[in-house]
C-alpha cells in the first residue's frame, strides 16, 4: 500500500518540484510538433516536385550483357567500396570491410555507455576539436593513400625536378636522356602494387604449397590444393588490413597522448568523424575522379555512352 501510494504521489516536496519543472519544460505535441512536421512535409513535397519537373531520371540504352560500358560503376552509395576494391583484395573490400564497419557501427553504444554529452549537439568538452581532427585526418589520410597508390608522388617528384611541361621523350619519340626519373632503387615505392612487381621475390615465395602443411586427407578431403602467393597476400591483404586498423589506432593513441581525446566519447567522436570523412572522400573519388578503366582522372563527371 505504501509503495503504491509513493509511485502515484511522490512524498517529498523536492521530487514534486522536480516533476513540476519537468512539466514546464514540455510543450504540447499538438500544435508545436505536429505543425512543424506538417510544414516540413509540405516544403519537401514541393521541393521534390520542382526537382522532378526540372531533372529527369536517367535512362540509358536497353541492358545488353554483351556490351560492358567503361567505366562500369556501382550505385553511388557503393562507390566507396568500389574504390576500396582498387586497392586491396576484393573479398576484403567488398565483404570483410563493410561487414566489420556495420558491426562496429552497431557496437558504438555498447562501448560508449555513460551519459556524458547526451541529448545535445556536441556538448562535451573537446567535442569540436575531435570532430575537426578526425575529419581532417580522414580526408587527407585517405587522399594521401589514394595518391600514393596512383603513383602521384612519382609524378610530383619528376615534375619538381624537371620543371613543368617536360615530357620524358624527345619530339622524335626517343627517350630524353636529360629527363630525371624516379630513382630506380625506389621503384618498389611507386605504388602499393609495385612492392609485389618491382621486388625480386624468391621463386618459392610466390608459390607456397600451403595445402601440404594441412592434413586435409585426415578428414576425408582429398582435392584440397592451395598454393599461396606471399607477395600478393602482403600487398592485397596484409598491408591494407594493417593500414585500415593501424592508422585509426594510431590516431587515437596520439590523440590520447596529446590530451585531445580523454573520454570514450572523445574517442568515439574522433573515430566516427574520421570514418564519415573517409566514407565521403572515397565516395567522391569513386564518383567523380575515376574515368575509363577506373584510372584516377581529374574531374570526370561520370557518364557512360
Amino acid at each position: 500500500m505504501a509503495t503504491a501510494r509513493s509511485t502515484q504521489m511522490p512524498a517529498s516536496e523536492a521530487v514534486r518540484g522536480r516533476m513540476r519543472r519537468q512539466r514546464e519544460e514540455e510543450l504540447l505535441v499538438w500544435p508545436d510538433l505536429v505543425f512543424v512536421e506538417f510544414i516540413c512535409a509540405v516544403v519537401f513535397t514541393i521541393m521534390l516536385v520542382i526537382l522532378s519537373v526540372l531533372v529527369n531520371a536517367v535512362l540509358l540504352d536497353q541492358a545488353n550483357p554483351a556490351v560492358t560500358p567503361n567505366p562500369s560503376k556501382a550505385p553511388w552509395y557503393f562507390l566507396n567500396l568500389q574504390e576500396l576494391l582498387l586497392h586491396m583484395h576484393p573479398a576484403l573490400a567488398g565483404v570483410v570491410v563493410p561487414t566489420i564497419a556495420l558491426i562496429a557501427l552497431g557496437a558504438i553504444p555498447y562501448f560508449d555507455n555513460d551519459h556524458e554529452g547526451q541529448g545535445e549537439w556536441l556538448s562535451t568538452p573537446r567535442a569540436w576539436p575531435n570532430v575537426i581532427v578526425g575529419a581532417v585526418v580522414g580526408v587527407f589520410g585517405t587522399l594521401a593513400l589514394i595518391f600514393f597508390d596512383a603513383s602521384r608522388h612519382v609524378d610530383f617528384y619528376e615534375w619538381m625536378l624537371n620543371g613543368p611541361h617536360r615530357v620524358p621523350t624527345l619530339p622524335d619519340g626517343a627517350p630524353d636522356p636529360t629527363y630525371i626519373h624516379w630513382p630506380e632503387a625506389l621503384n618498389w615505392l611507386r605504388s602499393l602494387r609495385s612492392l609485389q612487381t618491382q621486388v625480386a621475390w624468391p621463386a618459392w615465395s610466390t608459390n607456397v604449397p600451403f595445402s601440404e602443411f594441412i592434413p586435409a586427407q585426415l578428414i576425408g578431403i582429398t582435392d584440397f590444393e592451395v598454393h599461396l602467393n606471399l607477395p600478393a597476400i602482403l600487398v592485397e591483404q596484409i598491408i591494407p588490413t594493417t593500414t585500415m586498423v593501424g592508422l585509426p589506432l594510431l590516431l587515437s593513441l596520439v590523440a590520447a597522448k596529446v590530451g585531445l581525446a580523454k573520454t570514450r566519447r572523445d574517442h568515439m567522436i574522433l573515430q566516427f568523424s574520421g570514418f564519415i570523412a573517409t566514407y565521403v572522400i572515397l565516395t567522391i573519388i569513386g564518383t567523380y575522379f575515376r574515368g575509363q578503366g577506373l584510372v584516377l582522372t581529374p574531374y570526370t563527371i561520370f557518364s557512360i555512352e
Binding site: 519544460e25 514540455e26 510543450l27 504540447l28 505535441v29 499538438w30 500544435p31 508545436d32 510538433l33 505536429v34 512543424v36 516540413c40 519537401f44 521534390l48 516536385v49 522532378s52 519537373v53 531533372v55 531520371a57 536517367v58 535512362l59 540509358l60 540504352d61 536497353q62 541492358a63 550483357p65 560492358t68 562500369s72 560503376k73 556501382a74 550505385p75 553511388w76 552509395y77 557503393f78 583484395h89 576484393p90 573479398a91 573490400a93 567488398g94 565483404v95 552497431g106 558504438i108 553504444p109 555498447y110 560508449d112 555507455n113 555513460d114 551519459h115 547526451q118 541529448g119 545535445e120 549537439w121 556536441l122 556538448s123 562535451t124 570532430v131 568515439m268 566516427f272 564519415i276 557512360i304
Partner: protein, 251 residues
C-alpha cells in the same frame, strides 16, 4: 476568458471556423471540433491512430528544428512517398527482360505524369539514402545512442542496411545499361567473399550472370520483401523511441 466560452461570432473568419469545425461530417470523423484547449490537443494526439505515434507532450528543445533537422521524420516521409509513387509505377511495369525497359520508356512518353512519377520515385530514393545517413550522424553527434537507447541505434543500423538494399534492388529494375552493369559490379563484390561469396552471389542473381532470374528476384525483394522488413523495423524503431522516454535529453 475560458476558450470554450467565446462571445458570439460575427466575422467571416469566425463563421468559416464554425462551418469547418462544427459540421456533421467533420464531427463524424474527428468527434470534436478543432482541438483548441490543451486537454483536447492532447486527446487529439493520443486518440488519433496516426498521431499517436507521438507522445502528447514533448521536451521543448526537441521541437527546435536544429535539434533533429527533421531527419528521421524526413526519412519516414520519403519512405511513405516512395511507397505511394512505387505503387503507381507498379501499374505500368512488368518485371521481364523483354518488357521492363520498354515499359519504363512507355511510362515516360505515353503515360500522363509518368515521367514525373518516375522522377519523384528516383529522387526520393536517392534522398532517403542521404537523409538516413545524415539522421545517423545527427543521432551520433547528439549522443542520443547512449543507454537506454543502445538497441534502437542497432535497429537504426538495420534500417540503414535495408534502405541501401531497397535502393540497390530498385536500381536494376529499369533494365538499362546503367542498371545491369551497376548490379553486376555490386553483386560481384558479394561473390568475392571467401567460401560463401560465390554461392551467395548465385542465390542473389539466380544464375551466373544478371538476367531474368536476377530481375524477378530483385523486383520481388524491392516491391514486397524489403519494404515489409523496413516497415517492421520502423515500427520497432518508433515504438522504442516512445518506450525509451522520447528523444534523448541532457541529464
Amino acid at each position: 476568458m475560458a476558450v470554450t466560452e467565446r462571445p458570439e461570432r460575427h466575422s467571416l473568419g469566425d463563421r468559416l471556423y464554425d462551418a469547418i469545425f462544427s459540421n456533421r461530417v467533420w464531427r463524424s470523423i474527428f468527434r470534436s471540433g478543432y482541438p483548441n484547449t490543451p486537454r483536447n490537443q492532447m486527446l487529439a494526439v493520443a486518440t488519433n491512430v496516426f498521431l499517436h505515434l507521438h507522445p502528447t507532450r514533448i521536451h521543448r528543445t526537441h521541437v527546435k528544428i536544429t535539434h533533429t533537422f527533421c531527419l528521421g521524420g524526413l526519412s519516414f516521409f520519403l519512405f511513405l512517398g516512395l511507397t505511394i509513387s512505387g505503387v503507381l509505377l507498379m501499374f505500368y511495369y512488368v518485371p521481364s527482360v523483354d518488357r521492363a525497359y520498354t515499359d519504363v520508356l512507355a511510362l515516360q512518353t505515353d503515360v500522363r505524369f509518368g515521367q514525373l512519377m518516375r522522377n519523384m520515385h528516383r529522387w526520393m530514393a536517392h534522398g532517403m539514402v542521404l537523409t538516413v545517413l545524415m539522421h545517423m550522424m545527427r543521432v551520433f553527434y547528439t549522443g542520443a545512442y547512449k543507454p537506454p537507447r543502445e538497441f534502437n541505434w542497432v535497429v537504426g543500423v538495420v534500417l540503414l542496411v535495408l534502405t541501401l538494399l531497397l535502393s540497390f534492388t530498385g536500381y536494376l529494375l529499369p533494365w538499362d545499361q546503367l542498371a545491369i552493369w551497376a548490379i553486376t559490379v555490386g553483386t560481384n563484390m558479394v561473390g568475392s567473399a571467401p567460401i560463401l561469396g560465390e554461392p551467395n552471389r548465385f542465390v542473389l542473381v539466380g544464375g551466373f550472370q544478371v538476367g531474368q532470374n536476377a530481375l524477378i528476384r530483385f523486383y520481388t525483394l524491392h516491391v514486397i520483401g524489403l519494404p515489409l522488413m523496413a516497415a517492421i523495423f520502423m515500427t520497432v524503431h518508433f515504438w522504442r523511441i516512445r518506450r525509451d522516454g522520447g528523444l534523448a535529453k541532457p541529464l
